[in-house]
């Protein structure tokens, strides 16, 4: 549905995005993760034909952004960073205007209007001026605008920003319900959001794609060791040494709570069984034993923080991860 090939955007000498390549299948929800200034918004602006790429091609629903921008724009619903609302219009007037710009009219427009107002629960404010609405409502009006013409492709720049927790959950549910029939790209800072809503995550940093996979696969791939947390009732002095003797255990650290130990094991080995046996045979009192998986947050920090020792990690990730995008990885930092 969306096919981005090697796009580069330069502002003078500054390269905002550098040879970015990815694609989104029909019905897929893709999250765009990255720190501020990573190039998320620039990429989205290129996808929506707001600005042209310096190099590379973008095809949306089979149409090239450079050659047939109107056809692309017709098939995209776009929510920019700031909800693009006119404060002097009421919600209904605004959405009517949006529909008219998209060539809708008559009964077609009325039913689309009712549907999108219903979907975003704007019924109670539909006759109020947008200028008098709260940030959360404006954000929802912006979303209603993007959904109004039921586009096959939705591009949402931080869709849940400014919403309260209940609304955030509702919007996530809404986005999930769109998956399957719509292709969605959303950018976000909020990592659990990506895990909750998206099938695939693209992590972008410094204008380059540094990782692209499902949230689970990403954390699995970046794990250098397995971590197991053990909570014990009694805490003899020699337990640390005894645990280290188990073959495969690399290190043992004290945990965050009293009685808790973090055991680092060699990659690919599940030592829970052995650890349990040692603990039970020594009568230390086993209260809890579980593996700790890497959260997307850890993955994100590891990939976007430019620190010593990181480059190898990146190269490793990219070499194993990107089947479709070799160019963007060869020169990764």
């Amino acid at each position: 549905m969306i096919d981005v090939q090697n796009i580069t955007k330069r502002y003078g000498h500054h390269t905002a995005i550098d040879r970015v390549t990815f694609s989104v299948a029909k019905g897929e929800v893709l999250a765009f993760l990255g720190p501020n200034g990573a190039g998320k918004t620039t990429t989205m602006r290129i996808l929506t034909c707001f600005m042209p790429a310096t190099e590379g091609t973008v095809r949306v629903a089979g149409f090239d952004c450079a050659d047939q921008p109107l056809e692309v724009k017709r098939r995209i619903g776009y929510l920019p960073e700031t909800p693009p609302v006119y404060q002097e219009l009421t919600v209904t007037e605004y959405l009517t205007f949006v529909g008219q710009l998209r060539g809708m009219g008559g009964r077609n427009l009325t039913s689309a209007l009712d549907q999108s107002i219903g979907r975003l629960e704007l019924g109670s404010v539909r006759h109020r001026l947008i200028g008098n609405l709260s940030r959360g409502y404006r954000q929802r009006v912006g979303l209603a605008q993007a959904l109004l013409h039921d586009p096959p492709v939705l591009i949402l720049d931080e869709p849940t920003i400014g919403l309260d927790p209940k609304q955030i959950i509702e919007i996530r549910e809404l986005i999930k319900s769109l998956a399957g029939s719509h292709s969605v790209i959303l950018s976000t800072h909020i990592l659990p959001e990506a895990t909750a809503v998206c099938q695939r995550v693209v992590i972008i940093s410094g204008g380059r794609i540094v990782a692209e996979d499902s949230p689970e696969q990403l954390s699995a791939r970046l794990r250098q060791s397995e971590k197991i947390s053990v909570t014990l009732k009694s805490f003899p002095v020699d337990c640390n040494a005894k645990l280290r003797e188990i073959p495969g255990v690399l290190n043992v650290f004290p945990g965050e709570r009293a009685g808790m130990l973090l055991i680092e094991c060699a990659l690919g080995r599940d030592l829970r069984d052995e650890i349990a046996r040692v603990v039970v045979s020594n009568h230390w009192g086993l209260l809890e034993l579980r593996t700790i998986s890497m959260t997307l947050e850890d993955v994100f920090l590891r990939l976007t923080r430019h620190e010593d020792g990181l480059p190898q990690q990146l190269e490793h990730t990219q070499a194993t991860a990107h089947k479709g995008a070799p160019a963007s990885q060869e020169t990764a930092p």
């Binding site: 056809e71 017709r74 776009y78 920019p80 960073e81 693009p84 002097e88 219009l89 205007f97 060539g103």
Partner: protein
């Protein structure tokens, strides 16, 4: 409703819920009324003087004494007031980040420019329509030739349309409305003042070209009651050029 009509309707609504049209419209009408009053009183004083000198009934020419002066004075009023009306058209969209929404809607830039221009043109023509009360009331009490008045109105309509197009262009250049108003005002004032340079150069090629470029002599002919195709061409081509430049400026913002 076509996209252009939708933009026109939205802009008109935007103008009428903001105080700008009421304030600017009120000032415009007040100045027009006040100037009319001054010129009529002045014409009346001249008539009394003539009567005393010649005795009996003196005939005065309202076209020369009232309307021509009035239309000539309105140039300056339009030059100051119209950039204030147009300053918000693009600058506000950019400030409020709705510009990106417009540019990603499936409509052409020419439709956006046209919609915005027509909306402000309609407001301006509405204001001109209200000022027609002055000649209508005068007609009840005196006699004058309507034709030069109508060409004068044609002149004001054409000059105003050109000024609005310049204002629209200035608004597309920046996201600051005050800057947009001043840039519009500056461009118009420059085109006014170069007519003085043209007069200074006199009967030379450069003098003719500069005089032709300024709107002054074209407008002067219209308010004197002369309709010349070259003047109509001047206003028409100037208008199209400004709209074209606006289109280019809006298009170029995509590249920045």
């Amino acid at each position: 409703m076509t996209p252009v009509q939708a933009i026109i309707a939205k802009e008109l609504r935007g103008y009428f819920v903001s105080p700008i049209v009421y304030v600017v419209g009120a000032v415009f009408l007040l100045i027009f009324g006040f100037l009319s009053y001054l010129y009529i009183v002045f014409a009346g004083a001249q008539a009394i003087q003539l009567m005393q000198m010649q005795g009996g009934q003196a005939s005065i020419n309202l076209n020369d004494l009232v309307f021509r002066n009035l239309f000539a004075s309105m140039r300056f009023v339009l030059l100051i007031i119209l950039p204030i009306l147009t300053m918000r058209l693009f600058a506000e969209e950019r400030k409020l980040r709705t510009f990106e929404f417009l540019m990603t809607s499936p409509i052409g830039i020419h439709e956006i420019v046209l919609g915005k221009f027509v909306s402000i043109l309609l407001i301006y023509f509405g204001l001109l329509g209200i000022t027609s009360l002055v000649p209508t009331v005068l007609m009840l009490f005196s006699e004058f030739d309507w034709n030069p008045v109508l060409t004068g109105y044609l002149g004001m309509a054409l000059l105003g349309a050109l000024f609005l197009a310049v204002g629209l262009f200035a608004s597309a250049l920046t996201e600051n409305q005050i800057v947009a108003a001043f840039v519009g005002f500056g461009i118009l004032l420059t085109f006014w003042l170069i007519s003085g340079l043209g007069a200074l150069l006199g009967d030379t090629t450069a003098g003719h070209i500069i005089s032709y470029v300024s709107f002054m002599e074209h407008y002067d002919r219209l308010i004197r009651g002369l309709i010349d195709t070259s003047d109509l061409m001047y206003f028409g081509s100037g208008l199209l050029l400004m709209l074209f430049l606006t289109h280019r400026v809006v298009e170029s913002t995509r590249w920045k």
